[in-house]
Symmetry: C2
Amino acid sequence: MAQTLRQNRLLMTTTKRPAKMVNKKSSGRPIKVAILGFGTVGSSVARVLAAGKYPGLRLTHIYNRDVERKRLSTAARYVPADAIWTENINDVLTSKVDIIVELMGGLKPTEAWIRAALTLGKSVVTANKQLIAYRGASLLRLAKAHSVQLIHGAAVAGGVPVIPGLLHGQSADHITRIRGILNGTCNYMLTRMEAGAGYAEVLSDAQALGYAEADPSADVDGFDARAKLCILSRIALQAELDPDQVPAQTISTIEKIDFMYAKELGCTIRQVSTAQLDSTRAGAMVQARVGPMLIPHTSPMAWSHGTQNMVVASGRFGGDVVFSGRGAGGEPTAVAVVSDLLAIAQGGVSVELPVHRRRVTGDFISPHYLRFVVNDRPGIVSSIAGALAKVGANIDSILQRPGHDKHALPFVVTTEPCLNSTIDKAVEAMAKMNCMLERPLCLQMLEPEPPTA
Amino acid sequence: MAQTLRQNRLLMTTTKRPAKMVNKKSSGRPIKVAILGFGTVGSSVARVLAAGKYPGLRLTHIYNRDVERKRLSTAARYVPADAIWTENINDVLTSKVDIIVELMGGLKPTEAWIRAALTLGKSVVTANKQLIAYRGASLLRLAKAHSVQLIHGAAVAGGVPVIPGLLHGQSADHITRIRGILNGTCNYMLTRMEAGAGYAEVLSDAQALGYAEADPSADVDGFDARAKLCILSRIALQAELDPDQVPAQTISTIEKIDFMYAKELGCTIRQVSTAQLDSTRAGAMVQARVGPMLIPHTSPMAWSHGTQNMVVASGRFGGDVVFSGRGAGGEPTAVAVVSDLLAIAQGGVSVELPVHRRRVTGDFISPHYLRFVVNDRPGIVSSIAGALAKVGANIDSILQRPGHDKHALPFVVTTEPCLNSTIDKAVEAMAKMNCMLERPLCLQMLEPEPPTA
């Protein structure tokens, strides 16, 4: 059996050893599970495990800093009475735990602990997007070297099975583009703004609801989404990207007026993450970017409301596949985590395809939306048109809503498709014009797709 | 290793033996694949295999009736030159083929051949919805008894990874409802009718495009969709249903006028398949039904256009997860088939959960749409209202568009939520009224869902 498995894996991948099953010592004993980090997701994992569908999985250890506070919380009622609560990671690492569920997040000290666990022959299930985006390739190699599993279905889109769908149902396709709404906090904020609220108000509400941190930068500036995008790129495009090389544009410069103009253009605004094989460069680069975009109301991405996530995977053979649902929250994320636990417990192995390191370009060809706030005077449109003409960009439309103060007049120009690097040159020139009261806002626009047959 | 695997599977399921890997004899040899049925999907599978992503899989046998015709077709250019073309199934069954891809469809002679293949130790990948809906439970037991794999990710929704997503990403959830658009032909026809075409015209076009058979009954009368619904019920609800017990309502009675009235009600019309655990009967029954329904424009299902499929899986923990994409066609289906091949080749095992046989009820509580065509005279509305009052159904709205002949007047009544069995009694009584020029059309209406947070 071991030899059979080894042959198989040698054939299809470069695996040196067979995957080790978790329950490797005694006959019929339950599979022991430890949770590192007993916050919202951790306590939901305990609750889903306690719901009784998986008698073979037993929660035996909970690690958390200041663990007594957690042990006395109401969430602790879903943890078996004989589980060990500890604030010493060595109690978990030296135990007979089979699978460690890592829900602490971040790189320090998490990475070192995960490496220790894998090296000690424990499988790991994690929802840690930063860890998997920045260290995933290396950690997956370490897991393979020690014949254990590292699964991270919850690291992207929470309860939406994008990673399992890509790995198990679309591995045969040649996926050329991944595009999606990967940050529920931004989607909540932009959905609220679409309904008429202002940025400061919705940020404050998102913080009060626990969707956004006191420092909201990871969400609104796109760093959370680009980590997830890099994980999807590794799986779907077989392209390993450096997250820090993926351009991320903040949503914090979007204002109510932009939703009004977007609506006139048949669009809404969403934080969109895109990674696509750059066909002009023979697959050697990946075009990748995170930021607010104008999305036509007819696009699936405009359907995504509130904290929902959505991913569209475009394949050469299978066309566009859309996944959507709850991308965050304790229980949806716990579904993904416990499904991964169940897969390991049943001896499942992840489908593996070779991954190649790819350089990133943030340059896309698309129409652009430019919104200016100017102190109005004759000749402004002519100056702007001149700046665009100088870089070779063509104007598609000019929109100016009535009723604004001429001394702080917002108006919009849209362009025909061109590279953002081209538009950026024009924006630099226009930002220096005396009439500009603020830096022009430049957003990519998603072109409407032809209707499906 | 074998013992480890056995222990695991004994623990989590009632498996008696470990799953056998496919490549079980020689070291490093490719995994041999046979295709039964070289039609649109079969030739697409050959093409996807030939695209070069999976060097370890080798297509060695093609079975088809009248095989010379296939061997001489242009589609044959994707088949390796040394593959064996045969119209004798025994050439495949007695060969050293590891995995058989069954794309013939139907129960005869397919079922017997699949049974023979599994018994001979060959794994099977199939897209055969009828076979899996009617015989899946028994065939899965047979596969397990012979330690081989039977995977059927392509049997529902073609290239949309609904089955892999449910099995690998949502196994931990307690899914209480599966609802979806499972038949692309009906969706194409109803999308065309939504845009103004008549039923006869769109049926004729669907036949010309190869979407519908000369006898379109399997599609338009819902038999195709209910087979798929029963497969999803087994996986998502862990409920084994008899497909013949699932009520199926035809779409052939839908007319242009129904789309006009639907639009006034903020809706469109789609063929919808639903299976849900009947909470009022403690899970002992499943409410299941296939048929045309009024769908609010705000529902994800109203987004589904053309031949697309869509599935919404509603879980106790994970909420609603939406999958959509190309549900049919050679290449999307081939992606699902080859992804299943790759999973078997890499030693993957399907996640298994216990399945229980459940009885079906077609009775749902919902609002209803009733469309009448009457020879107008005073007192008709009063008679209809009386028939509804007699069964205890409340009218929600009455719609009558202007401009129709009073001797063949279509008008619509919608009711508040009640059981279809209640409405059916009223329809029986109303059908007998002298004024009725045809049997009243009764459609369930999907209630608008509250917006997501």
